[in-house]
């Protein structure tokens, strides 16, 4: 998101809550229990970008312009940063999780709250290279339909390719960029052969009662955007949805409370890989 270089917008806590409440009413998307500083900054940046002079004028546009909410929603969510972010984590997944999944006839994976799909892409590349993608049933739930449309193409600007190359070099199995991506002048995208066994949905994973029985839930760098209440609630939902022996992977700087940790076995402490 590119912001205009005007003066700062600073929201009060009550202005922020009024805006989040309005967004919830208009879209059903609930950011009221998101981590305060991050969601505050994102809304402030949108107000700047849209050249609204005040919180009140922003609220008026939300209420009066029917398409405005659709326009701003994508900017509220935080995209994944890069394919194979934290290569050490992906190396640990190859060492500890993939061998267990390989023993199964088939297995279910959930990647909830996808936005820009780099995490999903990283995972399916690893599964394919381990020759077990065909045994996987991957449930990828997205926050917006536009995110699904993007994920089905997974077309990234060429300027991001060097980053991917660097991350691939840090992986132990030395994947080759040309084996994975088609490269054009201005873009690169995942080869079509990788798109197997993925179910794309916009249904809320945590409210979807049919979404249960997973052998792996990949949920890295998502809990950091929730406040304590939503974070605890979400982790409890995740535990209910995991099979016994199923893996949970969260971001390296996220943590599980003591009560939750009691219900899980630590597989890799540094990389935050747990087993139910």
């Amino acid at each position: 998101m590119r912001y205009k270089k005007t003066e700062s917008v600073i929201l009060t806590a009550s202005e922020l809550m009024s805006i989040l409440q309005e967004i919830f009413i208009l879209s059903g998307k609930d950011f009221r229990a998101y981590a305060y500083s991050s969601i505050k900054r994102r809304i402030e940046q949108i107000i700047l970008k849209e050249n609204c002079e005040s919180a009140n004028k922003f609220l008026i546009r939300l209420r009066k312009e029917s398409l405005f909410i659709e326009k701003i929603l994508p900017d509220i969510y935080v995209e994944d940063t890069e394919i194979f972010r934290d290569a050490e984590t992906w190396n640990a997944i190859q060492r500890t999780v993939i061998p267990i999944l390989r023993r199964k006839q088939n297995f279910k994976i959930a990647v909830p709250n996808c936005i820009s799909s780099e995490e999903l892409i990283s995972l399916i590349i690893l599964l394919d290279k381990a020759n077990i993608l065909s045994k996987a049933n991957i449930h990828a739930s997205f926050l917006l339909q536009a995110n699904i449309d993007f994920a089905k193409q997974a077309k990234f600007p060429i300027k991001k390719l060097n980053q991917v190359k660097r991350n691939l070099e840090l992986l132990k199995n030395k994947l080759q960029i040309n084996d994975i991506f088609e490269i054009e002048d201005k873009f690169f995208y995942l080869k079509k052969i990788f798109y197997k066994n993925i179910e794309y949905t916009t249904k809320n994973f945590f409210k979807n009662e049919k979404a249960v029985g997973y052998d792996l839930i990949l949920f890295r760098n998502k809990l950091i955007y929730f406040n304590n209440f939503l974070y605890v609630q979400t982790v409890e939902h995740i535990l209910e949805k995991l099979n016994k022996g199923g893996f949970l992977i969260i971001g390296i700087k996220e943590s599980l409370g003591i009560n939750i940790k009691r219900k899980l076995k630590i597989v890799n402490k540094n990389e935050n890989i747990y087993k139910k």
């Binding site: 806590a13 500083s37 994102r42 935080v78 995209e79 934290d86 050490e88 950091i224 700087k253 943590s255």
Partner: protein, 187 residues
């Protein structure tokens, strides 16, 4: 003059040496909290805290998300994460877009400190090669905090302190010695 309980320090190219010297001078009974947001290599996760800790008498930690802020500690923003200071006196991390080509961004840490800690925070901008931190330091000053910029004449790279001076309009241009004295006198 009010003494601040919290100190946020931002640095980039050329700031490592002064940071080591600051850390070396902090006594084991230091009663304040320091947040260090430094531009660093995003792939290098380990080694930095250990290198800084060699000279330190107080704990230096890379916090996890939602960690409660304690006194007598230095919190180092982790590689590839932004660090926010919340009004609840906890730390939150984020993987939001690069800000000023940086993650962690000094501006984000300083802005959150300004709004969460008000007049209880001092912000210090050190040597660096871009303008990150300038807006954050301005916010600290506007919210009643104390804004300090390392004397650009002492800095290896002066883009960052010069931008911070211009944006914040602070008069507190400190030498390395004065910065160390300021931090030590924040008892």
């Amino acid at each position: 003059m009010k003494t601040q309980k919290y100190i946020v320090i931002g640095g980039s190219a050329g700031s490592f040496k002064i940071i080591i010297r600051i850390i070396k001078f902090l006594p084991a009974n230091f009663k304040k909290t320091i947040f260090l947001t430094l531009h660093r290599l995003k792939h290098v996760r380990s080694g930095f805290v250990e290198a800084l800790s060699l000279k330190a008498n107080i704990p230096i930690v890379e916090p996890k998300d939602k960690e409660i802020i304690l006194t007598g500690r230095i919190y180092l923003a982790p590689a590839n994460y932004h660090l926010y200071i919340e009004p609840t006196k906890t730390i939150s991390l984020s993987t939001e877009e690069l800000v000023n080509h940086s993650r962690p961004s000094i501006d984000l840490t300083f802005q959150s400190a300004a709004h969460s800690l008000k007049d209880n925070v001092a912000g210090i901008i050190l040597s660096g090669a871009n303008r990150d931190g300038a807006e954050g330091l301005k916010q600290i000053k506007l919210n009643g905090g104390f804004a300090i910029v390392q004397n650009p004449e002492e800095c290896q790279v002066l883009t960052m302190p010069t931008a911070a001076l211009k944006k914040s309009q602070t008069k507190n241009i400190y030498s390395e010695k004065q910065i160390i004295e300021f931090i030590l006198n924040c008892k």
